[in-house]
């Protein structure tokens, strides 16, 4: 079977070559330049805003306010890596993380749910030399209703905090929500505090985590505002127009907001945690749609004397109706909410989860289903811990041995206890705990 092994290798090489050629074409389409190995597209954003992510009419749309694709498999993430100029989280990186940590990487890494990064090798280099870094993630609190998709970055960030034993700052952009939505300041701030309870319920270490509302923290930290102004001095309207698609009719609050999401990337925004140090490296786990903010941040950082933040990007959590869109907090049937009862979960999955199965049991048994477009299977890739069980489900579904109803049952059995346990942990989050998490204060961590 050395021959079959060789044939398989040749087939893999050919497939890889096809992908490479396709990527080169996409690269030229997105950047206007021929691809050259070892020269990634410049991160510098010039005044013409040619790093716009909104260009390319037939591409997926991915920006902080819109995510859409016409493919049932979801956004083409390989294309996105080329377009955004980030790096793929490949097997080499996942293996290295395993080696550095001495433990199995999180399933989100094993399964390509966190699929893209910037400078993660540099973070690991520093970690190996026992140099400090910290985590930064966030949430835009536009309603009390958080769904499971909102938890992805927090579940992963909690794991990072545990395995690396490092401090974490979580920004609640209540000011952003006020600027973008038809909400009052009071509503946005209220949602920030309510959402913080769900975030705390993910199990963050109170001694290593600072959660802040922009509306509160901007007015509590002259150092934070100083960094905001520094960033605002080094980004033009043309740049934010290119990056975010802002227009001249947008309010000046939206136009200047990106600096506020950028500022927590710099450690001296938190003197109570880092004692004024301005060179502690930041690692940002987030969904890929937030990358435009941090491309901008990385462009500005060296010009104001700060290190660039590193990033880990996740794919989107699909809506029940299919991977064409992100879940929407405003459509109750598009997602499983953190407040859903076991019965609601069961009904939503059975009624709304898009199926990759065939129309009849007979057809399904004969031809098998398509796990690549099946939302129940996608959800299991996010939440079922056991790799072998997941692989068996995939094969059985594809072969037709596993029916859609059976697949949905496995998902329901996975989600119901997960959500119930979250709800149980949330009831244990007291107002005093929230206040402590949200109070600027020193954190405990080594170095």
């Amino acid at each position: 079977s050395r021959v079959s092994h060789l044939n398989k290798s040749i087939a893999e090489i050919e497939a890889a070559l096809q992908l490479l050629l396709k990527l080169k074409v996409d690269y030229k389409g997105a950047t206007g330049q021929d691809y050259q190995a070892g020269s990634p597209p410049a991160e510098n954003m010039d005044e013409s805003g040619n790093r716009s992510i909104a260009d390319g009419a037939d591409d997926d749309t991915v920006d902080p306010w819109n995510v859409s694709t016409t493919s049932a498999k979801g956004v083409d993430y390989d294309k996105l890596i080329v377009r955004f100029g980030s790096s793929k989280i490949d097997k080499e990186l996942v293996d290295r993380i395993e080696k550095v940590l001495g433990q199995k990487p999180h399933r989100f890494l094993r399964r390509g749910i966190f699929f893209s990064h910037r400078d993660m090798h540099q973070v690991l280099d520093a970690y190996e030399k026992q140099k400090a870094f910290y985590l930064y993630t966030g949430r835009g609190p536009s309603s009390e209703a958080m769904h499971m998709g909102h938890l992805i970055p927090f579940i992963f960030t909690k794991w990072l905090q545990d395995v690396f034993d490092i401090p974490l700052v979580i920004q609640m952009t209540d000011d952003e929500k006020y600027l973008w939505k038809d909400l009052t300041l009071e509503q946005c701030h209220h949602y920030a505090v309510e959402n913080a309870k769900d975030i705390i319920a993910c199990g963050f270490d109170i001694n290593k985590t600072f959660i802040f509302s922009d509306l509160d923290y901007m007015g509590s930290s002259p150092e934070f505002y100083r960094n905001v102004v520094k960033i605002q001095k080094h980004v033009t309207f043309n740049q934010v127009k290119g990056i975010f698609g802002f227009t001249e009719s947008d309010c000046i609050g939206k136009i200047s907001f990106p600096a506020i999401q950028a500022a927590p990337s710099f450690s001296n925004s938190f003197p109570q945690i880092f004692g004024g140090k301005q060179d502690v490296q930041c690692l940002i786990p987030c969904a890929i749609d937030q990358d435009p903010y941090f491309r901008m941040t990385r462009d500005v950082a060296p010009r104001i004397g700060y290190p660039k933040p590193a990033l880990l990007h996740s794919t989107f959590f699909p809506a029940l109706q299919g991977a064409q869109t992100k879940m929407s907090a405003s459509d109750a049937n598009s997602s499983i909410f953190l407040t859903d009862t076991p019965k609601q979960i069961k009904n939503k999955v059975n009624k709304h989860a898009f199926s990759g199965g065939k129309d009849t049991v007979e057809e399904h048994r004969q031809h098998g289903g398509d796990p690549d477009v099946d939302v129940s299977f996608m959800y299991l890739t996010f939440f079922l811990e056991d790799d072998e069980q997941l692989e068996k489900i995939k094969q059985d579904y594809r072969s037709g041995a596993l029916l859609t109803g059976e697949l949905k049952k496995i998902l329901i059995d996975t989600l119901q206890p997960m959500i119930s346990e979250h709800q149980e942990r949330r009831t244990q989050v007291t107002d005093e705990m929230v206040q402590q998490f949200m109070t600027p204060r020193p954190l405990n961590f080594r170095y």
Copy 2:
């Protein structure tokens, strides 16, 4: 002499008619509408930015960063009133202020140095009904070197504070200077504190005055930031482009800054002073070049549920070289600095103060000088308290009885003790006093 009196009145009426006709023409030129008594131009700024103050190529240029005119008499302030849509401080208003206060109005009011206003009658109405109001003024601290022109709003504001017995907030826009100039945050903040000492030396009541650096106060007051965000939500890029002439190449800090200068116009930006009240009327004494900020503020105010600030506008303090330009802190010979010695004052006035006199004593005696373009005389209108003495100097200079050297001597004798006394008061301003003035705290005032 009833006839000569009548002739004089007719001449005055004719002159006024001529001015009125000229103003109507200017009005149409500036607004595109025929003038109608009782309907001032709308303050609303639409998306086309048609309230731009930069339009009209042959007009004087007056905005927060540029003031220039081709006339040796200085900017045409009557035209500016029409263009900005403000109201003239006429004899009726000055008389009313005198009546309300029961004392002589400040020489800046008597002599038209504060020449324009918005809603001052409304402020007086409220004052007569014992309703509260407060004062707000400010300074952009771009260097340690303050000149006499910088003191004009503070001298007048101190008088207003004394006669009305009301609280005062003074904004040091160190963030603005960082955004506009090639300075570090530390430099701008340092200048804010140094300039505060000169401001305190004007004699403000420590129990009724709060001086703040934006870089400090933004990070100390969630309420201030909340108002900034509220304003930023209600002003578009198109509007600030129209009002301030910003372009797409400007940094997002400049574009959003006007909200920060607007926010102190609303009393709930200072909960420590007004206990959360959001309807205390604000009165802003400032040079006319700052009006664009407050036109914007007055446009936004009703849309976010706050009262519009009232304004009192001053003319510009002329440079020694003549009234064509504002004094410049970067040209040591263009102005009298607050640090100048008596000898420097004498030399600067004798050497650089533009003279309206004739070339030779003989000519001067015969034809007289022109006080309207004579900088020494202009300075005396700012600083010589005695109205009769000033009038006599004017007549004597015009007639030729007073020579340029003699006029300059009077000015030198007026300025030298004024500046020395200021320097003396400044040495008495301790760091503790500065810190107290700059600490957010309750202020003492009636109501």
